[in-house]
């Protein structure tokens, strides 16, 4: 599957730039598998909460705050 390969490649890029590959995941879920979708959505939400905000965005906000001051 090309999409899975592309996601793998993008995960590599995210690691290289320090954002972290764990923020992106590829799941294969059939249309009939609603519980599985909910399970993965919960898993990703928990993961995002644990990882915290994107470090790049924090830096941007810090910079713009500094500029305003």
């Amino acid at each position: 599957m090309r999409a899975a390969k592309r996601v793998e490649y993008t995960k590599k890029l995210l690691d290289e730039i320090g954002i972290g590959s764990e923020r992106l995941e590829f799941f294969h879920i059939a249309a009939s598998e609603a519980p599985l979708f909910a399970e993965h959505a919960t898993e990703m939400t928990e993961r995002a909460k644990k990882l915290g905000p994107n470090p790049y965005r924090i830096n941007l906000q810090r910079e713009s705050k500094k500029d305003k001051e």
């Binding site: 890029l13 954002i19 790049y56 830096n59």
Partner: protein
């Protein structure tokens, strides 16, 4: 075409870390086709640099530029483009080694009030063909003395690991080369092709030696066409 691979991101980042204005310069010809240095790759690399440096709180300006060919003056002669080149602290060229050298040479020739720093973002690999989607294989070493007419259109200089003129050698097994089971034995292919063409006689005479003088062994080569010069 000339193929290339992007250098590891860490290596690129390290080489540009001391500069505030970075220009990522792509090339729309060979390296765009092999998806190493075209428009999309310029965008990806520039975004990566912005994010990676931004992540560390390092404020850098990363601009994106693309020319049709970095190995030709005429595609870089736009005054507005040259002005932007001049404004950058460093040019990160993602062309092949020819493009990196030529653009560096050209910029420093036409921009006389400031030295222009150009560094490579790719490792140039070989002259090859697009065999399948996402697959390129080496096909020519540019030896300057082509033997393809004798070998059924298969180059033993490039595709035989030993560049044998009289093959195959003892390392050929089931049509594969001893260096790697994924590598076809060039001489096996040559014999098969000539057999199919009914021209096996072509390789009967023993080739005593090859004239390597037109190759790189004679130093960097020049090609001059007097009739094209102004």
């Amino acid at each position: 075409m000339i193929t290339a691979d992007r250098k590891p991101f860490e290596e690129i980042k390290e080489s540009v870390k001391n500069y505030k204005k970075i220009m990522v310069l792509g090339c729309e010809t060979c390296v765009a086709v092999c998806q190493a240095g075209g428009e999309k790759e310029v965008e990806i690399l520039a975004s990566e640099l912005r994010l990676a440096f931004g992540n560390e709180g390092n404020k850098v300006e990363v601009s994106e530029e693309l020319v049709v060919r970095q190995c030709d003056d005429e595609f870089m002669a736009d005054p507005a483009f040259l002005e932007r080149v001049k404004e950058a602290d460093i040019i990160l060229s993602i062309a092949c080694g020819v493009g990196v050298q030529h653009s560096c040479n050209y910029f420093n020739r036409v921009i006389t009030d400031k030295p222009i720093r150009v560094i490579p973002g790719l490792n140039t690999t070989f002259m090859g063909a697009n065999i399948d989607v996402g697959l390129w294989e080496e096909r020519c070493l540019g030896c300057g003395d082509c033997v393809l007419e004798k070998t059924g259109g298969i180059c033993p200089i490039t595709r035989c690991a030993k560049s044998l003129l009289n093959g195959p050698c003892g390392g050929s097994s089931d049509g594969k080369c001893e260096i790697n089971k994924d590598t076809d034995c060039a001489w096996h292919l040559i014999v098969e092709r000539l057999e199919a063409l009914g021209e096996l006689d072509r390789i009967k005479p023993v080739e005593l030696f090859k004239d390597w003088r037109p190759s790189h062994s004679g130093g960097p080569r020049k090609r001059l066409r007097e009739d094209l010069r102004i």
